[in-house]
């Protein structure tokens, strides 16, 4: 991708006391792309996001948004960002509308018309005059999205955005995010625990563990073609398949073979000729969850750094 990155996270580090929470994190985010941010609990997702929006000060490094530093030009850089950090907490004693009015006054040039427009977009027009205290979690999420979109941000950061939404709401939300990414060229950065959700929503996934970025993958890459072979004797089958150059691994009493579908008949012939009995061959779809657990080593809580 030759296009200039909209958001650049550069050598971002955070040390609290003696503990390094984030270690030298580098990541670029691009216009129109939705990037998922995955990691086990305590990996540093929220800390990273908080540093990106100026809630926490990085010990080292910086975040550039459209070329402007969050550290040195806070107002100019944050103007372009819409944020939902964890649950969107609102002023419960005010109406949804007053909450939006409140936040709109903190940006430049947001008209009343724009507020109404955003309220329509998130489908809150019927309840917007009621106090936020009476809203369900799902409605607060919608209001949270509304406040993040008020100023037409170029970059949207969402931390656990679908928490509390019903399945229809999640779907609507996903389609909406994909629409604004595609049509308005908004860069979106989403952290979530819902792996299946991330898989459907994102173009790209960044995985963090123990404060380090361990992998960045395009979602399409993840969906590589593999086949599951159940055959007897297994050792002989493995030998033959490895012999002709397929990457093979054992899985659930059989073999996992990385190959394209057109090579399968050839492999079957070889096995039959060698008198191997074949019980089953099926395409194997690893879910993102399997891969995630594989990459993060079982997804255990981040290791303690004390000795």
């Amino acid at each position: 991708m030759s296009e200039q990155a909209l958001v650049q996270i550069k050598n971002l580090s955070k040390t609290i006391g003696k503990k390094e929470i984030i270690k030298n994190l580098n990541l670029d985010l691009y216009k129109g792309q939705i990037t998922g941010f995955l990691g086990p609990n305590g990996a540093g997702k929220t800390t990273t996001i908080r540093m990106m929006v100026g809630l926490m000060k990085p010990t080292e490094g910086d975040v550039l948004i459209d070329g402007q530093s969050v550290k040195h030009h806070f107002e100019e850089s944050i103007e372009k960002v819409g944020v939902i950090v964890e649950n969107p907490e609102m002023y419960k004693y005010m109406s949804g509308y007053k909450n939006l009015l409140h936040f709109s006054r903190m940006h430049k040039g947001i008209s009343k018309k724009r507020i109404d427009e955003v309220v329509q977009q998130v489908g809150m027009q019927n309840r917007i005059k009621e106090k936020v205290g009476s809203y369900s979690l799902g409605m607060r999420q919608r209001l949270g999205l509304a406040q993040a979109l008020l100023h037409n941000p170029k970059f949207l950061i969402l931390d656990e955005p679908t928490n509390g939404l019903d399945p229809a709401g999640i779907r609507e939300f996903r389609l909406y995010l994909q629409k604004i990414a595609r049509e308005n060229g908004v860069a979106v950065f989403v952290s979530s625990h819902l792996l299946s959700e991330i898989e459907l929503l994102c173009d790209r996934i960044a995985i963090i563990q123990n404060g380090e970025l361990i992998d960045i993958k395009n979602v399409k890459e993840l969906q590589q073609s593999r086949f599951y072979f159940k055959a007897e004797p297994l050792a002989q089958a493995e030998e033959i398949l490895t012999g002709i150059g397929f990457p093979v691994s054992r899985h659930d009493g059989g073999l996992l073979v990385e190959t394209e579908p057109e090579h399968v008949p050839g492999a079957v012939k070889l096995l039959v000729n060698a008198d191997v009995s074949i019980f089953a061959i099926q395409p194997f779809q690893a879910t993102l969850e399997d891969q995630f657990l594989e990459m993060t080593g079982g997804g255990e809580i981040a290791q303690a750094h004390t000795k």
């Binding site: 908080r50 929006v53 100026g54 809630l55 926490m56 000060k57 806070f74 107002e75 100019e76 944050i78 103007e79 960002v81 944020v83 950090v85 964890e86 649950n87 969107p88 907490e89 609102m90 002023y91 419960k92 004693y93 005010m94 007053k98 009015l101 409140h102 936040f103 006054r105 903190m106 940006h107 430049k108 406040q147």
Partner: protein
């Protein structure tokens, strides 16, 4: 900045407690005047002292105070003025206001200013801390507005609210005086340093109220600082109210030490230069203003530094 203050003002008035405080203040003022009238009626029914007798007795007391050689300059001036006024009244037969009159209540409205301090502390201690406890702080600080501006808007809003309370206080003391005591005959006299002249009781009441508002400002700023630094409104409010009551007592404990001159509560009551009640005699208005300014700057510096630097993890 105006928009930020507008925001804070909107949030403030969206809470019931803000309204309750105002109503409570008005109710307390009216009812305390009613109770005072009722008590006075039952106790002083056969009080037949004339104003001349009262003035003579007060003059004798003030003269005896002037005998004291430890008297500070400010106090000496006050007592001399009082004696001069009393002499003038007796010579020219100029009656003062009756003790229970609307005019006298206006002049003394500042004595109820501690109520305003109390209520201001509740708002000042909570205005920042509440954002943290509600979790709304992260919505507030991820806007293209620098933190010091947000904090300033909160401070200004607190002080505007305090000012509103002080105005309510002034109006309602005048109103309660009018309702329960009525307007009395008499003339208000002041000593301008060389002669006794006629003065306005409204101006005198306003001047004293403005001076005691400085106390509201200082304690309010203190509570604001605690609320900002500790993010706990109960701690800020509790500690400020505790100090409000014990701080002045400590002046008497420290009386004999030099340090008392630099102690906050020696100076918070600026009306002391006009009412003659000075726990520490040898201080001047200038010293008080300087000491108060230094404390104010320290309180503000702590607020801005903690708020500006803090990592928000709430």
């Amino acid at each position: 900045m105006l928009k930020l203050i507008q925001n804070e003002w909107m949030k403030l008035w969206s809470r019931k407690s803000t309204w309750i405080i105002i109503i409570l203040l008005a109710v307390i003022l009216l009812s305390s005047a009613a109770i005072t009238k009722w008590v006075d009626n039952s106790m002083n029914a056969n009080n037949t002292e004339t104003w001349q007798q009262v003035e003579t007795a007060e003059m004798a007391y003030n003269l005896s105070m002037l005998e004291d050689s430890n008297l500070g300059d400010a106090q000496r001036e006050y007592f001399e003025g009082e004696v001069a006024i009393a002499e003038h009244r007796l010579e020219n037969d100029v009656a003062p206001y009756e003790y229970n009159s609307m005019q006298q209540t206006v002049i003394e409205s500042h004595v109820m200013m501690s109520l305003v301090t109390l209520f201001t502390v509740i708002v000042a201690g909570g205005i920042v801390a509440a954002e943290f406890s509600q979790g709304t702080i992260k919505m507030l600080l991820t806007r293209p507005v620098k933190r010091w501006k947000i904090l300033s808007s909160k401070f200004i809003t607190t002080m505007l609210y305090a000012l509103l309370l002080a105005i309510v206080l002034f109006i309602f003391t005048a109103l309660s005086g009018l309702i329960f005591y009525g307007i009395s005959d008499g003339t208000f006299l002041v000593w301008n340093g060389s002669e006794v002249v006629e003065g306005s009781f409204w101006l005198e009441g306003l001047k004293l109220a403005a001076l005691s508002f400085v106390n509201v400002l200082m304690i309010g700023t203190f509570a604001f600082m605690l609320g900002t630094a500790f993010r706990s409104s109960s701690l800020a409010i509790g500690l400020s109210i505790f100090l409000l009551f014990t701080g002045v007592q400590a002046v008497f404990l420290l009386e004999n030490y030099e340090i008392v001159k630099y102690y906050l509560f020696t100076h918070t009551d600026l009306t002391q230069y006009y009412t003659g009640f000075m726990p520490v005699g040898d201080i001047t208005m200038t010293l008080s203003v300087i000491v108060l300014l230094v404390y104010f700057v320290i309180f503000m510096a702590i607020s801005y530094l903690t708020f500006g630097k803090r990592d928000v993890t709430a």
